[in-house]
């Protein structure tokens, strides 16, 4: 950065706001004697993994006739195993994994998912219960995530679980998302409930893993998607609106209690979205519904500002 905060940092140290070590580190950063490219590397690794998995997906689709399913399944399994190998080796040694190691492990998990899904589509190992391969994958990824301490792999596991419940991320494309509202809403809520139970078990387990945040984000978003889906259904609206309100209240309280603003934001935004949706459905007159929506959004903004202020005050 070309901005320099030396004078301010000195003042912070003099006032005792930051200790000497923190001030020294901040000044080193400020002067450029230390500079981290951690975030740039993280972006590069993410893009690399995205490119490889996309490439593999297209490769399978385009070249199936030439390669053959057995060769594809075996090759992918070998590549996935190689990706896991480094993480397993480090784990056995008790060494911590680097950022690159994290993303190579993620690549392995994604390739394994592709491999199993592809194998199932070709060999029908599970017959009519084909979708159970997602549950198996969720289990395998969850075990891997715990064994190798990876939040990224846990995220893949929870997405697979959501897929098994029929709440795949590609069906959740914002406004037109809820094609089959009733079923989708129920499935999303059920999935959120299962994740909440797993999270509860996680907090009581002996495994010291920093996974609570991942569980919380998945469970919260899935629960809100379920409630929103029900809000859009004429028959289930009566249950959807109270459920949405209750979820919003719980999310906001949780955010305030743990000083995690994102959960306050979830609660307010999802609630505003759901109420606006219901208003549009119930009030046919465009002017009337627009005025109410405006009031809802203004109310949401005011509430968010008040709660944002309260979170700031609690930091004092």
């Amino acid at each position: 950065m070309t901005i320099r905060y030396e004078a301010e940092l000195q003042e912070l140290r003099r006032a005792g706001v930051v200790d000497d070590a923190t001030a020294a580190r901040a000044m080193a950063l400020d002067r450029g004697t230390v500079f981290s490219v951690f975030e740039e590397l993280r972006v590069a690794l993410y893009v690399a993994v995205a490119l490889i998995t996309t490439g593999i997906g297209i490769l399978i689709k385009e070249n199936l006739d030439r390669i053959g399913p057995v060769a594809v399944v075996v090759t992918l399994a070998v590549i996935a195993a190689l990706c896991y190998l480094n993480a397993i080796r480090l784990c056995l040694r008790g060494a911590s994994r680097s950022l690159g190691g994290d993303y190579i492990l993620l690549l392995g998990a994604l390739i394994l998912s592709t491999d199993v899904a592809y194998g199932e589509s070709q060999f029908h190992w599970l017959g009519g219960s084909w979708s159970w391969h997602l549950l198996i994958l969720a289990g395998v990824h969850a075990v891997t995530a715990y064994a190798l301490n990876s939040r990224l792999v846990l995220s893949v596991a929870l997405t697979s679980l959501a897929g098994w419940f029929g709440v795949a991320h590609n069906t959740l494309d914002a406004p037109g998302i809820f094609g089959e509202l009733r079923q989708l809403g129920g499935r999303a809520l059920l999935c959120a409930a299962v994740i909440t139970v797993v999270r509860w078990l996680h907090t009581r387990s002996v495994a010291r893993r920093d996974f609570a945040e991942v569980f919380d984000h998945f469970a919260t978003n899935l629960a809100f998607w379920g409630a929103l889906a029900w809000c859009g259904d004429p028959l289930l609206r009566w249950a959807g609106v109270p459920l949405l309100t209750a979820l919003a209240a719980v999310s906001i309280l949780k955010g305030l209690r743990r000083r995690q603003e994102i959960f306050v934001v979830y609660g307010i935004l999802y609630a505003a979205m759901g109420y606006s949706k219901v208003v549009h459905q119930l009030i046919q007159a465009a002017l009337g519904s627009s005025i109410i929506v405006l009031l809802i959004v203004l109310g949401a903004a005011t509430l968010l500002w008040k709660l944002h202020g309260r979170l700031k005050e609690s930091a004092l």
Partner: protein, 365 residues
């Protein structure tokens, strides 16, 4: 101290407050920031979304009331509301006042443009650029100033396109202008500004204009790169040379100044070059994706290893413990990459009867 907007000194303390928010010493920062209120990144995004919805809904209501000059009335109301939030409630970088001000200025600008009988595409682009520019400078918002510059380049492209006889002159000159702006921003980054927001504006400019420059140049051939082994037109090489030259310059400057903006621009330039050279190898799309992915993966892993111990002060280690939105993005990113669920197989499909051709799966081709 100005009542009109947050002072440079207050803005600096606000930036530091963000860095040391985990220190729980908000009171000390409050003394320096004064009565200005800001929002965290996540809350700012949420407020911005809410502000945009307010703007859109207010405009819809004005239209539904069949008000004459509905856009002007809605626009004025939004700007007044935004200014009230800034001047009276002392909001700075909070999201909602930014959305209201921008929405209001855009509505007023387009209403004003409608007053002319013969408004052109160029006038439209210039009007949008003015609205973005005024909002950006008033609110010190890098996104808005960036959009103003982009709208300005669109106006330049349209103007040259109408006056030039050469079919692709407009894209060429606009591409060159974009790179010139990116270079200028890179150069101006050497100035030690008092306001962190000026620094951010220049960083955004460096990143976005390097991408815009490539896109303008590449659009001369409909984003289809020429065969560089046989191409004879010297100007065609610009699409390759400019991102390369800019990338190298940005890398050197970024490392020397310890600045993230130019380094992100380098990554964009590399991506542009990879896209531009995609036909050189004759490889299929999937092979190229896998190849580039592997190169990026290996390069990043090696660089991370190499920089684990700081080299000339540069390290791959994470400094500080606050992650916030980035941690959330990482979790969401991993979920997004998870392969989509395959459709249920058709009834009566027996094991071995692959649906994708199934070469070998059913035992016969």
């Amino acid at each position: 101290m100005s009542a009109w907007r947050i002072s440079a000194q207050q803005e600096r303390w606000l930036a530091l407050n963000g860095l040391f928010s985990a220190q729980h010493k908000t009171e000390f920062f409050a003394q320096h920031i004064g009565d200005w209120h800001s929002a965290s990144f996540i809350a700012r995004c949420a407020f911005f979304v809410l502000g945009m919805v307010v703007g859109t809904t207010l405009y819809t209501i004005c239209e539904l009331f069949h008000l004459q000059e509905a856009r002007l009335i809605a626009g004025m109301s939004l700007v007044v509301a935004a200014e009230w939030l800034i001047l009276s409630r002392r909001l700075a970088f909070a999201g909602i006042e930014e959305a209201l001000e921008l929405g209001g200025l855009l509505l007023i600008a387009f209403e004003w443009l409608d007053g002319f009988e013969r408004s052109t595409d160029v006038a439209l682009a210039l009007t949008a650029a003015s609205a973005f520019g005024v909002a950006g400078l008033r609110l010190l918002n890098p996104l808005f100033t960036m959009l103003a510059i982009l709208a300005l380049t669109v106006a330049v492209d349209l103007t040259i396109g109408k006056s030039s006889a050469h079919p692709h002159a407009a894209e060429l000159w606009t591409g060159l202008l974009s790179y010139a702006i990116a270079w200028l921003a890179l150069g101006l980054g050497a100035i030690r500004f008092q306001r962190p927001s000026y620094d951010r504006m220049l960083d955004w400019c460096v990143v976005v204009m390097s991408l815009a420059g490539y896109l303008w140049l590449a659009s001369r051939s409909g984003l289809e790169p020429p065969d560089y082994l046989t191409v004879r037109e010297p100007m065609a090489w610009l699409t390759l040379l400019l991102p390369s030259a800019f990338g190298i310059t940005a890398l050197l400057i970024g490392l020397r100044r310890r600045s993230h903006g130019p380094l992100i621009a380098v990554m964009i330039c590399i991506a542009c070059l990879a896209i531009e050279l995609r036909k050189l190898t004759g490889l299929s799309l999937q092979a190229r994706l896998i190849l580039w992915g592997c190169i990026a993966l290996v390069a990043a892993v090696l660089l991370e290893r190499y920089l684990r111990r700081p080299r000339a002060g540069i390290t791959s280690q994470k400094l500080g413990d606050s992650e916030g939105a980035l941690s959330l993005l990482e979790i969401a990113g991993a979920a997004t990459l998870t392969p989509p669920v395959l459709a249920a197989p058709a009834d009566g499909v027996a094991p071995g009867e692959g649906r994708f051709g199934g070469g070998g799966a059913s035992g016969s081709y």
